[in-house]
Symmetry: C2
């Protein structure tokens, strides 16, 4: 393959290749050299021109994975036709139904050997998803009376931490059955906060994703 | 000081010294060289014979710190005079009131730059604390009627994950005020599960630990 003339194409080629290798071999077991070997003649210098380290590539890969779906989430957050609680339900549903979710669960990265990937997801969840997406929705819910809490920041964090991290079958290597049980406990937790938004459709979708992950292992 | 002839004594000497330095200077500001300088002539090689890195020493220090207090927790778990819900409350209270907690919050490693440390705590929480301490108590609570859940494994995990990880001020670098808000949300979560065990004494103790951490920073 010839070297791309346009930097953006080069970056995309590096990210495509790195993403595939990270998912196949695991981040820890993929070296910069592995990525270079799979770039069809692109030099080491070309990689280091764009990325300082393998870790830098990981951040760019995960940023690219989430940036498109974040637009969908922002659309729900900023919609005017729904109240806060409805938005929270919609954002869960839409988030789970993104086609990219099937891909992520099919390639199934091994979090067990990948503390940095987990760290990245945890930071993304607490410092981005919670304040940028869930918090504004909860605040709207407080205003329109559909959500009741005195601690919107902390409630936003807790909900998205449990949903994104604890209920992610890849992180704790859960079976479909375990994920079903986690969903039921999550539903009870949400109900306890007056957030009766986890319906059977959401439950089915989460266990379907756990199924895709289990089949792949 | 002469080199210890017995490996266990050498290990204990290293851990005693490392613990003292971590407490005095903080984990981040203590180097392997600092530890060596305080070992009275023990060689670098002797340290590396037992520990691969400073992080390894931290794990051993915290393991030693927690192993004794784990016996207290096991004692509560195995006590015959309390029902499940009372045991859960007691284990929270005792766990927070261990003198070792003040030490841990004084050592205060910086989780922000340390994905492996976080990974370690997360694994300890999900694969040890949840099944070994919380789950047996919840199961007893189901038997004696003081706790109601169809999913004891998952409830145990969720409770201890939220308590040990999310509410740990060191992990997300929280202020005392933020920890207070987290406690209130945690209390509401627990109440939602019928576990009305988070009282003002527990709340005061958690915010006091957050205070120790904040003063230290």
């Amino acid at each position: 393959m010839a070297r791309n003339k346009h930097p953006e194409e080069t970056v995309n080629l590096i990210l495509d290749t790195a993403f595939r290798l990270f998912m196949e071999k695991g981040y820890e077991y993929t070296s910069i050299q592995d990525i270079i070997n799979n770039l069809g003649g692109l030099s080491k210098g070309a990689i280091y021109h764009h990325f300082k380290s393998k870790e830098d590539i990981l951040y760019a890969v995960t940023d690219r994975m989430t940036s498109e779906s974040n637009k969908i989430l922002a659309g729900i957050r900023d919609a005017s036709s729904l109240n806060g609680k409805e938005k929270l339900k919609t954002i869960f549903k839409m988030s789970l139904n993104r086609p990219v979710m099937d891909d992520i669960f099919t390639v199934a990265p091994n979090f067990n050997n990948n503390s940095k990937l987990l760290f990245n997801i945890l930071n993304e969840t607490i410092y981005k998803a919670a304040p940028d997406y869930i918090l504004p929705i909860i605040k709207q819910g407080i205003s329109d009376g559909s959500i009741k809490t005195e601690y919107p920041e902390q409630l936003a964090e807790l909900i998205i931490l449990v949903a994104n991290v604890w209920m992610n079958p890849m992180i704790f290597d859960n079976t479909k059955e375990e994920i079903y049980c986690k969903c039921m406990v999550f539903r009870q937790m949400m109900d306890g906060f007056g957030l009766d938004i986890i319906d059977d459709e959401i439950l089915d979708r989460i266990t379907r994703l756990a199924d895709i992950y289990e089949e792949r292992k």
